[in-house]
């Protein structure tokens, strides 16, 4: 029997399960794809990495505001994207299943469906996980 079942390994799920496990609770975290959530894979992290490149290009084009000769750098989007992926890969270990497991969280890669108020069934096996 579990103390806490978390469905979804995004920011909220990772933090909740990490703290609960740190307090000695029996915790399972169910994630259907990759942990890290929207933030790491499609949201904040890639957007900030892209915006950083865009801001720099804009600043260089308007360098005359600071008394410098403006230049317009070429954009190699594949290089920009490569750097975005690199930023994601740097942050990813913080949110990884390995790190959560090291913290004592049982990480399950699956879909989950609630079948009772305190019980969820795993989609692939039908196995039930309960907490109370």
């Amino acid at each position: 029997m579990l103390d806490l079942l978390v469905v979804g390994g995004g920011t909220a799920g990772l933090i909740a399960s990490g703290i609960a496990s740190g307090l000695g609770a029996r915790v399972a975290l169910i994630e259907r794809t990759v942990t890290g959530g929207d933030c790491l894979w499609t949201g904040c992290v890639p957007s900030k990495a892209l915006i950083e490149a865009a801001n720099l290009r804009h600043a260089m084009r308007h360098a005359d505001r600071l008394g410098l000769t403006p230049v317009t750098p070429d954009v190699d989007l594949s290089q920009v994207m490569r750097r975005i992926r690199h930023a994601q890969a740097t942050i990813e270990p913080e949110d990884s299943p390995e790190r959560m497991r090291a913290m004592g969280v049982d990480v399950i890669h699956d879909d989950a469906r609630f079948v009772a108020p305190r019980t969820a069934a795993l989609a692939s096996t039908g196995e039930r996980r309960g907490w109370g």
């Binding site: 103390d3 740190g22 900030k48 950083e52 740097t90």
Partner: protein
């Protein structure tokens, strides 16, 4: 107060938490990871000093300075919401590390583990009574 000042005054009881900008996600997205920050607390966990070296340090230090002036506990840095990913979030990350080191410990678990066990046992008993009650209902 610097780390050295705090160590001299409180020895091992001083709170010192550091990270480099490789752990500040905003710095990672900007490819500007050279830098570090340190917070210093007294033995009761009150913020007494901070050092920030890195991009936007002058902005980031203001939150620490305000907290020190007010005599805030380090935990207050964690309790207020910080946008992600920002350089300013580094303050909350340091405070989180401090709180983890202070509370998510074997000592705490010696209290909380038995508590969780009691809650699980209580839930099992309540579940059994419910099952029994619904069966009794069916028989009637």
């Amino acid at each position: 107060m610097t780390e050295a000042d705090a160590r001299q005054r409180w020895g091992d009881d001083a709170v010192v938490v550091s990270h480099d900008y490789g752990h500040v996600d905003r710095a990672v997205t900007a490819a500007r990871t050279a830098g570090f920050s340190t917070l210093v607390g007294d033995r009761r966990g009150r913020l007494v000093g901070a050092t920030v070296v890195g991009p936007t340090a002058g902005e980031v230090i203001a939150e620490f300075a305000g907290a020190i002036t007010r005599g805030d506990d380090i935990s207050m840095l964690y309790r207020s919401v910080h946008p992600y990913p920002t350089y300013a979030l580094g303050a909350a990350t340091l405070a989180q590390t401090y709180l983890q080191q202070r509370w998510l410990t074997p000592r705490t678990r010696r209290v909380t583990r038995p508590l969780f066990a009691v809650l699980r046992a209580a839930d099992t008993i309540v579940g059994a009574i419910r099952t029994w009650a619904s069966r009794a209902e069916d028989l009637r």
